[in-house]
């Protein structure tokens, strides 16, 4: 696993930017897939906080997708696993997530804790064939992660889907409305921490970020960086 480069002082150094980088002003950023990702937002961050409740912005992390009648075949050609059915996700051995949004739409989310340039090159060099069309989910959607034990309770304030662990465990995926914005919610683990990944329209990213933070406050949660999830921690 590659080490983060911590010599990148500001997200605006990069042309590619998260839609909410300003919301984490003062954070320590690092490079991830050609953009800045918050490494640490406060001095007191810890893995324990993430296990309790925290909100992370992974929008910088590589992601791609395809759809069409031959999308599943294309995925197989890329040596990536196909979730058994729609509305499920699979985590690969390398920590990537494959989302199956329907019978013919697949998203691949890079591992936010490592560089994904190899994956990006691999997918970009595998052009879509007839009946398989690339998707711009890297730029159309923001990617936030709601971590910890309180995640279901937080989502219960924002979303009408039952996301308790017993019914929305790892691998579950819902295309739903969160705080009145269309969103994809994926239940999975990040370095052993149970999380929900929330992918929603990037043009509403600031609104969504603030709605999530607002809901999180009741549980003592706040935004955080990915540093405490890195293997060294």
């Amino acid at each position: 696993m590659s080490q983060l480069k911590i010599d990148t002082p500001s997200p605006v150094v990069f042309s590619k930017r998260s839609p909410i980088y300003r919301q984490q002003a003062g954070a320590l950023f690092a490079e991830r897939d050609g953009a800045a990702i918050a490494l640490q937002v406060t001095d007191t961050e810890s893995r324990a906080q993430l296990q309790q409740s925290a909100l992370l912005d992974l929008s910088a992390t590589f992601r791609s997708g395809v759809r069409g009648r031959t999308a599943s075949q294309w995925l197989g050609q890329q040596q990536l696993p196909l979730p058994a059915q729609a509305n499920q996700s699979v985590t690969t051995r390398d920590g990537e997530l494959v989302l199956r949004l329907g019978n013919s739409e697949l998203w691949i989310l890079g591992n936010p804790l490592r560089d994904n340039s190899t994956l990006a090159k691999q997918l970009q060099s595998a052009p879509a064939s007839a009946g398989c069309y690339p998707l711009s989910c890297q730029h159309s959607h923001s990617w936030f992660v709601l971590s910890g034990e309180c995640r279901s309770a937080v989502m219960a304030k924002l979303c009408g889907v039952d996301m308790r662990e017993s019914v929305f465990g790892p691998g579950a995926l819902a295309m739903t409305s969160v705080a009145r914005v269309s969103a994809i919610v994926v239940s999975h683990e990040l370095q052993g921490v149970p999380v929900f990944s929330i992918l929603s329209d990037c043009t509403s990213a600031t609104y969504m970020w603030q709605a999530l933070l607002d809901a999180l406050q009741e549980f003592g949660g706040s935004d955080a960086g990915i540093a405490s999830l890195l293997p060294a921690n």
Partner: protein, 966 residues
């Protein structure tokens, strides 16, 4: 003021070590933590809490459970708080409400003397004539009738909502509810137990089901221990299930949050409301329900009086008398409405305590202290017939009268679910039947009135729920209870009246009867005419006596009479609960913060936030003109990321485009753009955009800002029929876009683009190119919306802000400046370009708005083609025209009418002063006869003035399109 409390085990809710000071009606009192405002006041012998709505009669608590309007008080920032529910806090300041003068000396009480002149329906029958009389009285009546006052400086509190999901939800944590929850939980299902009060137990928490109360306490503790130890039971106290909606969707309000609960099975164990007895002065402070006195003692350790009379129509009143006696209250008599003795054991217990029992008798009148401020005694008579009494009177001094006129099931949630209420003459009570699937009923709401039956009914209901969940195959045996707890006719009219049926609305027995005499025989009409049941307690105590009175007066059965419709909410609900945390999503482009940093005035465009112009609002006109002039003379840049973007990909992409849009797209060359007009099936122009052909099988088409979702939806809908081999992908959010426009636009672009030939020949007007801008992948189009050399650049939205920064930096030598939507609107107006939905309406077909050229009449089909053909073959009545006015003319506004004589022929759709054109320019719908350039149209502007504008040909600016094709 002194405060004395009963010893433990009385006082389940209070903490005797935590005194709390507070104020009521300007006087200081002391209560205890765990008190409600009302219990703390009663502990201080303060009984007068409020004044009644109509006659301003003194009122004290009736139920001590938040079920009546007698305890409505004014808090600093909230009127109509229930004093018997609102928890006491240190320093709380409480006032009475609905009085004139002071709560203790209310001048409005004189209205009671005028009662005979204020009959039922007084307002309806009095203030409708002569015409206008209501206007005279309304102010006075509103002032007189208002309850409490709203604090207009109130700072809204945070309220929100939460979704919850359970296998079984039990409403009511009395013995039936707790037993049902435990039975369900034992099968391993998730259970939510909702309780309105602040403690578990329901009647077990205050009522003695046997003479000494010991086994009741033990039973309650055992049930609570089991509930608390059950890991799969969630308990919500102080929580009200405020409605029942289809499929067991239950809004449960607790504190500032509304929980939207989904239950696979729902068990309602909501209990039953103890009823009052209808006799003269039954509303005096010091008269309360038996259960209220028990709550006062058991929950708050408050001794409710020194000398009591108990008036009852069931055995429960006997228990109340014994409990009062045990707590040191001198019980002067138990007055039983029933002719026969039903429970010799309890009667013996009374006798053992030397408590006199008066059978087949009633309180005919409660006697009041001065000003009706408290009860001082009762006039007891033997019952001689239904509602009739002997003339012989027995007077007993007392300061407390506890009454129990039977029970009414808490039917509201169940009736909301469609359950049927039926009245049994034998039991003198209502019962519920015909519940929908997955909704169950248990306990006293189901007519169970002995503890063993109540518990058995809880087991039965839970078992049935488990059967429905597939977790049990037991047969849920029905439970029956033959105890009769309701007296036949606890209503005793008095010649002097003031025997209240509905305390909320000051309605007496004769008011209900008189309503029927006036022809309002239906219970719903009685309600609306008399307002019975329309007060804050929503008929909890008035429904049963009203049904009886109406049935009697109209010679029908009580079942035939029924009760009025129960609708959500069950309890008063704040709008804040309904609203919750208001989610109002907004959309911002990738460059949003750059606009703010540059001083943009933002404007809404649907859910988008867009820069209108840059600079102070007071300089709006000047800034718009400056920005437009800058584009005309140098170069400007505008954020157009809000335009919709849709990709159409696949072998049938060209065919699809050809069917969707009016123009021809089959032969559109790759690398070229084409104007795309979208009409609906009625032939009305509903959207437009620019379609770029990226490849033989790939189009990228823009839409209007507000039309993106609708166009995408229509595209997918149409292709569900057509089954063409295309993929339709809404990429609006995936791309950020700008338009760099002005004579220097190419020079700016040349600073940044190295891999595209930007020369007029290499990248001509209406061409499409792909390249990079400082490494950012970009789609570029030569466009002319504002009428100047222009490049629309679309980049993945993550790069949008960087693109903006690059352009502004690269454009510095040419003084590039941003321009906003207002400026763009002026520029395109000068160029004569329409904005769909601004310059079109729900009737505009292409011919009316000068878009015939964008309609291919040779191709076999496009959406709306038949309608377009029909409308364009009909004689045209109006036409969108350009008009001019001198600079010093009053400026028409959008929407101003175009008149031809007295006839309205159209309206102004766009109008602005143009410094480029040196005058006012605009577009308007005009009669066809006036559409020829050189004609004049008359526009009615502000103030009713009319201005005459000259019709001119469009565009106003650069008619030969030389500038955009540079």
């Amino acid at each position: 003021m002194t405060s004395t409390r009963l010893p433990a085990p009385m006082g389940l809710l209070i903490d005797r070590d935590q005194p709390l000071g507070f104020e009521f009606a300007g006087q200081r009192y002391q209560g205890l933590a765990g008190d409600s405002v009302a219990s703390a006041l009663l502990a201080n012998q303060r009984w007068l809490l409020s004044r009644s709505f109509k006659y301003h009669r003194p009122r004290g608590p009736l139920t001590m459970a938040g079920q009546d309007a007698n305890t409505l008080v004014q808090l600093p920032d909230e009127p109509n708080a229930l004093a018997d529910r609102f928890p006491l806090t240190a320093g709380l300041r409480v006032e009475g409400q609905n009085y004139s003068g002071s709560l203790d000396n209310d001048r409005g009480a004189a209205l009671g003397l005028l009662g005979r002149f204020l009959p039922v329906g007084f307002y309806y029958r009095t203030f409708f004539r002569p015409l206008g009389v209501w206007d005279q009285w309304e102010k006075f009546i509103r002032k007189t009738a208002g309850l409490g006052h709203a604090d207009l400086n109130f700072k809204p509190q945070y309220h929100d909502k939460e979704y919850r999901f359970y296998d079984v939800v039990v409403v009511g944590a009395g013995p039936a509810g707790m037993q049902a929850a435990l039975t369900a939980a034992a099968a391993g299902v998730s259970v939510l137990l909702v309780e309105e009060q602040s403690l578990l137990g329901g009647a077990l928490s205050y009522h003695q089901f046997e003479a000494d109360g010991e086994s009741t306490r033990a039973q309650r503790e055992a049930l609570i221990t089991q509930v608390e130890n059950a890991p799969n039971i969630d308990v919500m106290l102080n929580a009200t299930c405020n409605g029942w909606f289809t499929d067991n969707y239950l809004p449960v309000i607790q504190g500032n949050r509304m929980h939207k609960v989904r239950a696979r099975e729902c068990i309602v164990a909501s209990g039953a409301y103890e009823q009052h007895v209808v006799f003269r002065n039954n509303d005096l402070p010091g008269i309360l329900l038996c259960s209220a006195a028990e709550r006062l003692m058991s929950w708050h350790a408050v001794k409710p009086g020194q000398r009591a009379v108990v008036l009852t129509g069931n055995d429960e009143g006997y228990s109340t008398a014994l409990m009062l006696h045990a707590q040191g209250v001198d019980v002067a008599a138990v007055v039983d409405l029933r002719p026969e003795l039903h429970n010799p054991v309890l009667a013996q217990a009374l006798a053992g305590q030397q408590i006199p029992l008066m059978q087949h008798s009633t309180v005919f009148e409660a006697l009041a202290t001065k000003g009706n401020k408290h009860i001082r005694g009762v006039d007891i008579r033997r019952i001689s017939g239904r509602g009739q009494v002997d003339s012989h009177s027995t007077l007993i001094d007392c300061d407390l009268l506890c009454m129990s006129g039977g029970y009414m099931p808490a039917y509201q949630l169940l009736c909301q679910a469609g359950a049927q209420l039926s009245y049994s003459d034998e039991r003198c009570a209502f019962s519920l039947s015909k519940l929908p699937d997955h909704l169950h009923i248990a306990g006293s709401v189901n007519g169970m009135h002995s503890l063993d039956k109540v518990l058995a009914d809880g087991v039965r209901a839970a078992t049935q729920a488990l059967v429905n969940l597939g977790l049990s195959d037991s047969v849920a045996e029905p439970v029956t209870c033959d105890r009769v707890v309701n007296p036949e006719w606890p209503i005793f009219p008095h010649p002097k009246g003031k025997e209240f049926v509905d305390f909320d609305e000051d309605l007496q027995a004769k008011d209900i009867v008189n309503a029927t005499k006036l022809g309002y025989r239906d219970i719903q009409l009685v309600k609306r005419f008399s307002t019975v049941g329309m007060g804050p307690s929503q008929g909890r105590h008035s429904a049963l006596p009203t049904a009886r009175l109406v049935a009697d007066a109209t010679d029908r059965t009580v079942t035939e009479t029924g009760v009025t419709t129960a609708r959500p909410p069950f309890h008063a609900e704040k709008l804040a609960h309904v609203a919750g945390r208001i989610f109002s999503p907004y959309r911002q482009t990738a460059m949003h913060h750059r606009h703010l940093e540059m001083g943009a005035q933002m404007m809404p465009a649907g859910s988008w936030q867009r820069p209108a112009y840059y600079g102070p609002a007071v300089e709006r006109d000047r800034r718009v003109q400056e920005e437009a002039q800058h584009v005309r003379s140098k170069v400007g840049v505008i954020d157009v990321s809000t335009l919709g973007g849709i990709e159409v990909r696949g072998p049938d992409a060209a065919e699809f485009m050809n069917r969707i849009y009016t123009f021809a797209f089959l032969k559109q060359p790759v690398g070229r753009t084409r104007y795309a007009v979208f009409t609906n099936e009625q032939g009305v122009v509903v959207d437009d955009g620019v379609a770029s052909r990226l490849a033989e099988d790939h189009f990228y088409v823009s839409t209007t800002t507000s039309g993106a979702d609708a166009v995408y939806r229509e595209m997918t809908r149409w292709n569900a029929q057509w089954r063409l081999d295309v993929d339709i992908y809404n990429v609006t959010s995936a791309y950020a876009a700008v338009n760099v426009a002005g004579p220097d636009a190419r020079k700016v672009m040349e600073q940044l683009v190295e891999d595209v030939d930007l020369s007029p020949e290499g990248f001509p007007y209406l061409a499409y190119r792909e390249g990079t801008i400082s490494g950012i992948p970009a789609r570029m189009m030569r466009v002319g919306f504002v009428g100047e050399l222009g490049y629309e650049i679309h980049v993945p939205s993550s790069y949008g802000e960087a693109l903006w920064d690059l352009l502004l930096e690269a454009g510095k030598p040419w003084q590039i400046r941003p321009f906003g939507v207002e400026s763009q609107r002026l520029l395109r107006l000068e160029k004569g370009h329409i904005i769909v939905s601004q310059d079109t309406d729900g009737m505009s077909h292409p011919g009316e708005v000068g878009l015939e050229w964008a309609v291919n009449r040779k191709k076999p089909f496009f959406v709306g083609c038949r309608s377009v053909d029909i409308m364009m073959s009909l004689p045209q009545k109006r036409q969108l025209v350009g008009f001019r006015l001198p600079a010093d003319s009053p400026r028409p506004k959008e929407g101003h009418l175009v008149l031809r004589g007295d006839d309205v022929t159209g309206n102004v759709t766009s109008c602005e002063y143009s410094s480029t054109m040196g005058g006012i320019i605009g577009m308007a719908y005009a009669a066809v006869q006036d559409a020829t350039p050189g004609s004049h149209i008359h526009i009615r502007v502000d103030g009713g003035k009319s201005v005459t504008a000259e019709v001119v040909s469009l565009p106003f600016y650069d008619a030969d399109n030389a500038r955009q094709e540079l």
